[in-house]
Amino acid sequence: MTDTELRLRVGTFEGPFDLLLHLCRTNEIDLAALPVRPITDQYLAHLEAMEFRDLEMAGAYLVMAATLIYLKSKLLVPPDESEEQLDDEGLLLKQELEDRLREYARVKMEGAWLAAREAEMALIWGRPGAALPSVEDLPLEDLSVDWLARMLSKLIEEQRRNRPREIEPNPPSVLERMTEILSVLRDTWSLLFSSLTGGERKRSEIVVTLLAVLELVRQGRIKTQQTELFGEIVIERQAARADGEAPSAQAD
């Protein structure tokens, strides 16, 4: 066991699933029958020994740790060393964890296949660029500069009719983002935090969105909760009744 531990600490992992998968492999655990208690203990032990590339990566591992601990807390008493019993919710969580773990295992295999393929392809060379006749001798097909000219005229004409358009400042302010979230929530009961930032590539956008969500929670206009396993935040419209109960983010 100490030997295994030592080997574990040297390894590098691509994320919490990768680590979990490694623990399962080295202990020959069936992914369809995850023993919660030992796997949680090992995961945590390993986490202590790890160094993280950055905060975000550390966060991903911690979310998994939280999930495992939560799952462990769901084990029914009295605890029998050999048998683990979970309540219904715990079973569902465990099921999802196992599913995701299996899916990740498959992705890892697919990645390995691609790597092997990449290595094979590295052995062959194609032509460095096209050897087709220089395109300038080619007769035109169905492109015409007149189209370009017409397009431009149309744009100029539009500009004459309309006043210059106001350009949306970039990135949006917290206030704008708040309005946006509320307007989305008018049509739907709940939405995922990740989906609010999913299309955005800029970190500043995510920060603005997070601030907007926090402010809306503070104002009691929305509530957030973590129903999903790995830290997904669900945002919900706050019921119209204005009671004193403070909306809270329940993330364990």
Partner: protein, 203 residues
Amino acid sequence: MPKPIDVVEALLFASDAPLEAERIRDVLDLENVAAARALVGELVARYEAEERGLAIMEVGGGWRMVTRPELAPWLVRLARARTRVRLSRPALETLAIVAYKQPVSRPEIDAVRGVNSEATLDNLLERRLIRIAGRKEAPGRPFVYETTREFLVAFGLRDPGDLPKIEGELVIPELAAEAATADGEAQAQQDPGAGGAQQPAGS
């Protein structure tokens, strides 16, 4: 009058992207695509029989003329040949998710990997192995990604359907070896992966 098969050879040589049967038919004024396929087939057979320096490979919906893999050592020595940077493991995993689940959004990819995939996706986009396929009709309308033709070419695939099915309980090969002392069940399960990785380069 040049023979059609020689014309096809020249077309394959001159083209920098895989050449489709459709295009060969157009250029050669052939009756149908089947005739184009037949011509290419004849050329492929000729190249295989002669076994010289070059080969023709079906990839990305068409055919490409390439050097034979056995000649790689000399081509590496040709100083002008570019060196290729291999993809990192996170990049390969992310690419696998896109390839198998396309079109797929970043939140979905993040969920499978358990970590943020933004930087990795940017890298794959930059290499043109994936591209934005549109937006998902979900709150926030996130971008969805799909693989490109360059992806097919880079990995020597005819089309995305060429990706092997990887199913069931998997045992990572190197760890399977480690665990070999155990019971026979783990042994039996290492096959799907190993089989996938050992597929021939795609004739």
